[in-house]
Each structure stands twice: as C-alpha cells, then as structure tokens.
C-alpha cells in the first residue's frame, strides 16, 4: 500500500497522468465539437486507429515527422468524412455506421499493416519516427512544477492548446455559434439559411482532425510504433468524458484528466506485481461509473424525424 501511495503522490505520477491523458483529451474534445453539432458519433476509435497507422507509414517512408502527421490526419479525417457522408447525406443510422467504421478500423489497419510490413501485430519492422519531447525553458527548472509540466511530447502541449482552441471555437466564433444552433435546433438554423448538413459536416471534420491528432500521438509519442487495436476503447472513453463534462469544454477536459488518472493508476499498480488483468479493468470500470453519474446524454437526438403531413 505504501508503495502505491508514494507512487501516486509524486511528480512522476502527475507527469504520467498528463502523458496518459493526452489521447483522451484529444478525443473527448473531438466528441465535444461533434456533440455540439448534434451528431452522435462513435467512430472515433476507427479514426484514431487509421490516423495512428497513417502516422507510422508516413513517417517511416518519408523519414519525416511532418509527413507522418499529415498522412495520419488524412487517414483519420477520411474516416470522419465517410461517417459524415453516410450519416448526414444518406441518413444512415449513426450508431451502426460508427460501429462499422470501428470494425473497419480494427481490421483495415491490420490489413494495411500486413501488406506493408508483413506483420499483423505491430509496426516495429517499419522505421517510423517519433515526435520529440520538449523541455520548456525556465519552467523546467522549477522544482516539482517543472517535473510535471516540462519534458512532455509536443502533442501533449498541442492537446492542452486544443482545449483553449475548442473553447474559443465553440463559444467565441460565428462557426461555433452555428454549430451550437445546428445541434440544438436544426430547423431554426435552416430557417435562417444556415446549411445544416454543411455545418455538421464541418463539425465532424474538425472532430476528425482533433481525434486524429490523438491517434497520431498514440503511435508517434505514447508508443514509438503501431500495434493492432492500440486504442483499446479510448475513443469510447472520450465520448464518456464528454458526457461527464456535459458538452462544456473545461469540464470535459477535467473528465478526460480523471479517466487518464485512472489509467495512470492502473499502470502503476500493474508494475507493483498485482494481477495486471485486474488492474487493466480499472479505467473501464471508472468510465462506467462516470457514465452512471451523469446519466448519459441528456441532449435529445437532434435529427428527430419530421412529421411530414403538416
């Protein structure tokens, strides 16, 4: 027990919380943007898997991180675009479409990985690059605070900036106002000439962009390679964090950190010779409790069908 406590109350632990939370912050913010636009999207898992693989392929073949990031973004956002096209244009059931894209993400990435590297488990055969960690001058010399805040992966800082970005986008820009209005009352938005489908499409692409950054982080920061099914449900934890944050930016960020803490804790406990299987359950149980606390999604389904005969 002492070992656990001394692990938790250390700068290292808080550092690892930020490290582990990074993908959750990204995906929960992505879920938030999409949710504000009134779309129920569960395809983040698939988006992130594709972006993680794309990042590895891009950086390995070009030997250039930027190409890796770009290919990751393109592949992740392609999934978002497929989702958007089917759900918004062809009126598909969003949950089933999301489910299908997650199946595609799980199988399709392994398919591509095998074709490229001849391995179905991980991309270690490919010489992919990592995104560097950076030390922040001045802050890194402050005791404790420096240990916690400095020395993270670039994308971890990007995640923190994304929190501010999403807040400004949703609350302080014309686009954000439109996204919110489309999510809350699409008929109202339509009646003043806002293109509902287009706005939702944009929200989904922004969400796809942010979620893809989370995927890229997984294979270029959190780990130095891609492994099959490496998201392990993080896409869904992000949705749960967004629910817990009730669609507001900063509460969602806090919820993502909470889930990240649970995962960091589970990582520590696994290293303490406790049965790792039981410890691996912790983040998921934590998410389930979180879902019960807020009572899921209170927003009504936006795309309520119109009664057509007047």
């Amino acid at each position: 027990m002492d070992a656990i406590f001394s692990s938790i109350f250390s700068a290292e632990f808080v550092f690892s919380v930020l490290r582990v939370s990074t993908p959750l912050i990204f995906v929960s913010l992505a879920a938030l943007v999409v949710r504000n636009g009134g779309v129920m999207c569960i395809a983040f898992e698939g988006m992130m898997l594709f972006s993680a693989l794309g990042a590895v392929i891009g950086s390995a073949f070009a030997q250039n991180q930027i190409v890796g990031v770009l290919l990751g973004l393109i592949m992740g956002m392609a999934i978002a675009a497929i989702f958007a096209y089917f759900v918004l244009v062809l009126n598909s059931n969003g949950v089933l479409t999301g489910l299908a894209l997650n199946i595609l993400g799980s199988g399709g990435t392994v398919f591509m990985l095998y074709l490229i590297s001849g391995d179905k488990g991980s991309s270690t055969a490919l010489k992919s690059l990592m995104i560097p960690n950076i030390n922040i001058p001045i802050i890194k010399n402050i005791p404790i605070l420096g240990e916690i805040i400095s020395g993270h992966n670039v994308l971890t800082y990007v995640a923190l900036l994304t929190v501010v970005f999403v807040y400004l986008l949703i609350n302080k820009t014309p686009l954000g106002l439109r996204i919110r209005s489309v999510g809350e009352n699409p008929h109202a938005a339509e009646s003043v000439g806002i293109k509902v489908v287009k706005t939702k499409f944009i929200a989904l692409m922004i969400g796809g962009f942010i979620a893809s950054l989370g995927g890229i982080y997984m294979s270029m920061g959190y780990l130095p390679f891609f492994t099959r099914d490496m998201m392990a449900g993080r896409g869904f934890m992000g949705i749960a964090a967004q629910n817990l944050g009730q669609g507001l930016t900063f509460p969602t960020f806090i919820a993502a950190l909470l889930f990240g803490s649970a995962e960091a804790l589970s990582n520590i406990m696994q290293s303490l010779r406790l049965p790792s299987e039981l410890m691996q359950m912790v983040p998921y149980i934590f998410t389930l409790v979180g879902l019960m606390l807020v009572g899921g999604d209170k927003n009504k389904k936006a795309s309520k069908k119109e009664a057509k005969n007047e």
Partner: protein, 521 residues
C-alpha cells in the same frame, strides 16, 4: 402599375407537392398576393397550408408549378434563397435555439465579426436597434428559453425584419398566444402593413382573418376552394369554403341517462420542470352515460389532465378516483383492465406505431390476454378475426390488416386508434382531440361512436379545441384557461360558441360556486 401582373408582388402558380409516403399535400394550388396587403391563407388542419408555405420558403420542393416574385420567376431551393429574395417566415414551432441568447438568435446566419471572432456586442447593438425601430421591445441578453411565448414570437419577427425582408409569412401565429398577446400582435402587424410590408397570415380562425386581413385564399384537401376579398365574404361563407358545408354540426342524440359516478378528479395540480403550474386545482366528476367536454385553446392544461388520468404522467398532488378507488399509483395496464380507454391527442407518438401493421396496432392493449394466446404463442387466427372485424366495423380504409400504419391517411389512422380503444369495453373514455386534423367523414364517424358508447353507459371525457364539436357532442361542459377551470355548464343545449369563447379566452370567469357544480360524489 397598369400591368395587372405588377399588382402582385408574389404569385405561386399550379403548385403540386407529393410527399414520400404518397400523400398529395398540394394539388395545382395558386396563390397571388398583392404588395402591402395582409393576405390570409386559410383552411382546416391538414388542408395543405403549411406545405404550400414550406414550398414558398424553400423547405420543400414542389413536383410541379412555379413561383413568380416581383415579376420574375424564381427557384427557391432553400430558405437562404427565400431570405435573399426578401421572403421571411415565422414558423408555428419557433425556430429558435433555446439555450442561446436573444441577440445570438437574432444574428444567426449573419453574425457580425470582429477579427474573425463573433462580435457579440455588435449583435446586441443590432438587436436593440431593430427592436427600437419597429417598437418591439426585447432584452437582447435574455436566454430564449427564459422568455414567455409572446416574446419568443417577437424575436422571430424581429429576426426576419433584421434580415430586410419584404414579405413575412406567419404560420398560425396566434395558436400559442393569449388573447392579449394576440391583440398586441395584430397591432404590430397593422403597423408593419402601414410601413409597406406584405404579410401572409396562415390561420383557421375566421374571426382573426375577418378583423386583420385584406384578401384570402382558402385551401381544402390540398386544393384551392376560394379566392376573395375578405370584405366580400361572411364568416359563414368562408367556413363553407373551408369544410365544404355549413359548419354547424347537428348530431342526433338523446338526452343523457346518467347513473353512477365513474371518475372523480379532485384538486389536481401539475407543475412542469420550470415549476410552472400547467394544471391548477382542477376538480370534476363524470357519470355513466355522460359526455363531459373540456373546451379551451390548446396548451391550457388539457394534455396534462388526460395524461394524468390515464397514467402517462405521474401525479404530483390531488386525487383521481375511478369508481371510488384512488387509481393514480396504478400501472397503465391495470387502468386499461379496469376499463379506461384513451385517445391521445398525438396519434403518431402515442396512439400508433407507424412502422407496424394495422393488426399490430389494434391489439396493443390486449395481446397478452389468455383469449389471444395459445400454446405459449399468439393465436394468429383469433387476432386476425378480431382485426378483420374491427377494420370492417370501423370502416378503416387499408390494403389489408397487414398494411403498415404509415401508409394510411390521418383519418384512417385515427379510426384504427378508435377501433382499439372503443372495442375494449371501456367504462371511461378519455378522448383528447379525437378528430383533430382528420377528414370530415372520419370525424363524424368518431363523434357518433362516442355518443353510442355513452348511450351504452360509458363515461366520456371529450377534450377538444374545436368549439363546435365540443359543444354539440358533450352533454355538459368545462372550459379551461391557463390550467384552471373557468366555467362549467351542466347543459350544452342552449350554449353558443360566443359564450364559451369568452370564457375560453379569459374574458369572463365563473364564480367558484358555479364551477363547483361539476363535482358530485
């Protein structure tokens, strides 16, 4: 201005609209509107008024026909195009995002910007400016969800004025307003007409049309049945054009033979989540063989009363007795087994399943009973016999018992509901807007059925916004206004619509003693 065509700012020619379910909502409709007039588009529920306006506003695309606006043919493919042309619409259901502020709603779609960010201060300024210009005061910083209905509508009107429209479409704007708010609205509309705006006023209320409008177009079953100057027609004339015959209903019925008290409602109060009392302190009784009517503008607590009695809503305070037994804690199945039948005001949400067959819709209250089950499975033959019998008896026009409900017309869907509810040997029937939006034939059929059930001893609570119906069909009548009972008449025979209307609109109010007449043991 010599050219006749120039007289009309807008004309819709030969509009035909068919919906995806095969329903023809408009058939060769013509509408011509002069500049600077208030033009009434009038017709019963389901006559095709809203569809026509959706076509004009670009929300629906017609299969045939054209729109000529300011002398030129225009293609209105979406609301943005309509707004660009200067055509704006105030919808019956407000097109507002409730959690946004008035100013945010006002500028939606034309947001003022400052360095790429949304300039909220400018939005507030614009709102105040337009609100002053048209003398329609509003608080720009209030959240829309906190505003009373009349103010929400005001936001809607300001919203389209801000966009610089010439033609305003108002879709049944008075349906949700109190009489005072209606008067206020009319003053505003006359003022706008004076300033040169053209207004299309959709309504099915004759008095409003007479007092406000210049010309009118009447629709019935998706077709135009009359175009005239309002001054040339009496209310009777207009109503004949709307329904194709005199509206004065005559229904043959004997005087009621009342017996035991079936339902007693005492001190019923119901508040919504905003703590607003939707039903306050309502008490009444109904006896066997009696139809008690509740008249009132929709949304004055009638929906809640029927939901509370039938168990769809949980009771908060007060008592509901069925044959002297307090029933409000019982399950809906128990209530139905005790003989409570319910025609919901919303037949597509509660009354039926659109994607299920007529048969499946007919058995939903009794499918579990022994008589319809055999060897652990549903008894297909007995159920088919019942369905075919009910379809025949209630004259449901459908392909077969296996036709999906959504392929039926409104009137036939309502007949399916009535067939199920009336065939359950009801002791008490709660009929909430049983004939709303359905054709004359089906309405008459349902009314007659109600009376014959009452003659067989059922107690009926008839809730209706249709004054003619509720006065003619009921034996005694309650009038509701803002969740309260404001009048009780123990005999409807000599009652006129004018009298009831005065109570319904809150102009008159009976004393507590007079109202108390509807409570007996």
């Amino acid at each position: 201005m010599n050219n006749v065509k120039d007289e009309y700012i807008l004309s819709m020619e030969n509009i035909t609209k068919i919906y995806g379910n095969g329903f023809m909502a408009n058939k060769n409709v013509n509408l011509r509107v002069k500049k600077g007039e208030i033009h009434a588009l009038i017709g019963e529920n389901g006559a095709g008024k809203s569809t026509l306006m959706k076509v004009l506003f670009g929300q629906e695309q017609p299969e045939e026909g054209k729109i000529i606006y300011k002398g030129k043919e225009v293609k209105i493919t979406n609301p943005l195009v309509a707004l660009d042309h200067g055509i704006g619409m105030v919808h019956q259901h407000f097109m507002l995002a409730p959690s946004l502020t008035v100013a945010e709603n006002m500028v939606l779609g034309i947001e003022p910007k400052n360095k790429g960010f949304f300039d909220y201060a400018e939005a507030v300024r614009l709102t105040s400016e337009v609100s002053k210009k048209y003398n329609l005061p509003i608080d720009p910083n209030a959240k829309v969800k906190d505003l009373p209905v009349g103010y929400k509508q005001r936001v809607e009107i300001l919203k389209i004025l801000l966009r610089g429209v010439d033609v305003l479409i108002l879709d049944e704007p008075t349906a949700v307003l109190t009489p005072q708010e209606t008067d206020e609205l009319f003053v505003q509309l006359r003022e706008l007409r004076k300033q040169g705006y053209t207004i299309i006023f959709i309504s099915h209320k004759l008095k409003e049309v007479k007092s406000l409008c210049d010309n009118l177009t009447v629709l019935r079953n998706g077709r135009v049945t009359g175009i005239a100057s309002v001054a040339d027609l009496s209310e009777q004339d207009i109503s004949r054009l709307m329904v194709g015959r005199d509206v004065s209903l005559t229904i043959e019925k004997d005087s009621p033979k009342t017996k035991k008290t079936v339902l007693k409602v005492r001190n019923l109060t119901y508040k919504n989540s905003d703590n607003k009392a939707l039903v306050s302190n309502v008490s009444f009784s109904i006896r066997e063989g009696e139809i008690l009517g509740i008249a009132g503008v929709e949304g004055n607590g009638q929906r809640e009363i029927s939901a509370l009695i039938t168990g769809l809503e949980e009771k908060q305070s007060g008592d509901i007795y069925l044959f002297d037994e307090e029933i409000s804690s019982q399950s809906i199945r128990k209530l139905r087994e005790k003989g409570v039948s319910h025609i919901s005001e919303d037949r597509m949400t509660f009354g039926t399943v659109a994607d299920a067959s007529v048969e499946e819709n007919l058995i939903s209250d009794r499918f579990y009973k022994k008589e319809f089950n055999k060897n652990g499975l549903l008894d297909a033959k007995k159920i088919a016999d019942l369905s075919n019998k009910l379809i025949k008896e209630y004259l449901v026009k459908c392909d077969s018992k296996n036709a999906e409900i959504k392929t039926l017309s409104g009137g036939n869907i309502q007949k399916v509901v009535a067939a199920r509810e009336f065939s359950a040997n009801p002791k008490l029937i709660i009929a909430n807007q049983p004939t709303r939006g359905i054709d004359v034939g089906a309405s008459e059929f349902i009314r007659k059925k109600l009376i014959s059930l009452r003659d067989k001893g059922s107690a009926v609570l008839l809730i209706s916004a249709d004054l003619t119906e509720v006065i003619t069909v009921s034996d005694s009548l309650l009038v509701m206004n803002e969740g309260k009972i404001v009048a009780y008449f123990d005999d409807t025979n000599d009652l006129t619509e004018e009298t009831v209307g005065e109570y319904m609109l809150g102009i008159k109010h009976q004393t507590a003693e007079e109202i108390g007449g509807c409570c007996y043991e």
